[in-house]
Symmetry: C3
Subunit: 171 residues, 3 copies
């Protein structure tokens, strides 16, 4: 029922096929589809990743950039609009680098996500299954990302864990 209102949360490691799978799910609803990009192109490596993702998506997609005000971007969407948010981890990174109030921002975001007004798909990274990072900033980021992932999973209708490109249903 991809054209119904509802929140689907897609979590996985790096290169686990999260974005590609999310695109498949979104495009099962009728076009047009909105892609909300949270990435900011700080360097060449990031610019290449963004270009690669963009080139994979074809006709029927409108792209919006929301590196910080993701809640606002979602709130401004028309009812019934199929949306892919890619991804929460970069959005969180942007807020941490900007030294914003991360807890307040997460609350604002999950408030909007808890009332999806169309088939909404949100992608995020699992970053907590490695060794404890050496530096304190990475540990703070890992904690904040884990908490945000829990909050979004709690309000999502469907949660998928991506493993080597394949979805494993968690909820």
């Amino acid at each position: 029922m991809p054209d119904r209102k509802g929140l689907t949360f897609i979590i996985g490691g790096a290169r686990s096929g999260k974005s590609a799978h999310a695109e498949t799910l979104v495009t099962a609803a009728p076009a047009p589809w909105t892609y909300i990009a949270t990435a900011e192109a700080y360097d060449q490596e990031m610019r290449e990743r963004i270009a690669l993702h963009r080139s994979r998506r074809g006709e029927g997609w409108a792209t919006m950039d929301a590196p910080l005000d993701l809640a606002g971007a979602l709130a401004a969407l028309p009812d019934g609009q199929p949306v892919l948010v890619d991804c929460l981890t970069l959005w969180l990174t942007n807020h941490m680098l900007a030294e914003n109030d991360v807890e307040a921002e997460c609350l604002r975001l999950t408030d909007v996500l808890s009332r999806p007004r169309g088939p909404w798909f949100v992608v995020s990274n699992e970053v907590g299954q490695g060794i404890v990072p050496d530096n304190a900033l990475a540990r703070r980021f890992r904690d904040a990302a884990g908490r945000l992932n829990q909050q979004v999973a709690a309000i999502a209708d469907t949660v998928l864990l991506m493993v080597a490109g394949l979805p494993l249903k968690v909820k």
Copy 2:
């Protein structure tokens, strides 16, 4: 059947909701509940984490510290006692830092865990799904943690993998 004898093993990444989920499971059995903490407060960051976990638990909990002699602490419990051990990864860290015989200690622990005398819940971290760590100590720790997790999962009645706060049944 949370008041029956049995071992439940809850594994997951950092901030995956392991402790909170384990507390929910333990408190489905009648109080009093025993919380066995393995953490040692080496620094301020750790002290804050311990305080946060402690404040989340409310009435009905007795807390025991067992940074090293976890097998002894478990053996000393009365029959039928609901217990939460949080967590194996820190217990292992303590033994490695103390340069104890890790293999022997794991054997002692799993021997006690293989005969649960109440509803016992044990929490541990998945630390092996990142890039191979640079330093040899982290690799040794990762190996030892993975082996211990396998040993405990093998004797557990139930094994849950936590993903963004949600349990995925593995066994």
Copy 3:
């Protein structure tokens, strides 16, 4: 049906019991079994890991080394031969260190794997669920490993995620 033709892909973190579980699956088919090792013993730590794996396997196993030409080794096998490839991550590492054309090599390999001529079992590591690594080579490796894992999972008949020594069926 372990003696039928088919590709089983076993993915998991470090010390998640991938190799041991794969050996159990392979040896459910009649001997002789072929173990294709991709590891190169660069240092003492690696030599010890290889020796440990080798000592665990007993009678009935033939070992082949294929640190680079894994496609060739598989193509040279007789029909119906039960095979364990351990593991793709080290094979990929070898090609990256040799500065070979990784994309072309992955294509050659997946081409052979897409037509298994016996019960073939392939082991690989999940390396993408930790914090983004500091150095660019580790990030490139993580990307390449994730892509290869997706390609192999896509053509596999069965995909298992190992968690603390236990298999979780993904496909």
